[in-house]
Subunit: 108 residues, 2 copies
Amino acid sequence: MEAALRALADDSRRTMLEALAEGPATAGELAALLPIARPGVSRHLRVLREAGLVEVRQEAQRRIYSLRPEPLAEVNDWLTHYLASWDQRLDALHTEIARGKRERRSTG
Amino acid sequence: MEAALRALADDSRRTMLEALAEGPATAGELAALLPIARPGVSRHLRVLREAGLVEVRQEAQRRIYSLRPEPLAEVNDWLTHYLASWDQRLDALHTEIARGKRERRSTG
DNA sequence: CCACTGTGTATCAACACAGGTACATAGCAG
DNA sequence: CTGCTATGTACCTGTGTTGATACACAGTGG
């Protein structure tokens, strides 16, 4: 998941992933979407592959990339859990407030 | 949101955020969790601040950081939307398959 | 085999970033 | 003001990343 987060940090890669969300595409098609040269795209694709975010299938000379959402789902999970725990904490705080803060315990 | 994603790419910052999810903490407390020196932590906190992921409140000499989940929620949203569109696409594909692939249209 | 298409890799330069050390700033206590 | 605590900033350095150019490799078609 860490690799996925690092991969998501790059704008070019996000663009590529967004394109792939609408369907598989060849390296060349993805390169056409970006202002960088093909070799750069190849490297980005390698990063995405190593992060498990895409998978590749060969068809003649073409390499067709498609999305592998599992790592993204993992990130999504992590974020959700994360936000939930934050929310819960806030909730507890509200409860505390609702109780009129009668019990003043030294938390430190 | 881009800034948030970049911020999330770093392990130290994720650790700090995870700590903050359980409650506010001072810069020093956060620094104690990490293997790096205080100045480094300060810089990480700045990045998190600039990404809107944390907010700071001063209390005497201490600076108390707390989580601001909005950018994370944005990321979560983006991911959800993203995964949903991928899912939808898969769904459409399944529908196509269910139909017995009777209609063979040249999509390219 | 050859020419051609489509892609990945090697290598180098520019830039960004993380971390450390030294220092500055801000607030409390006297 | 001075001394101490807590924290941020300046500056330098080592490392990683991005992008480009040049090249190598895989597959198709003849």
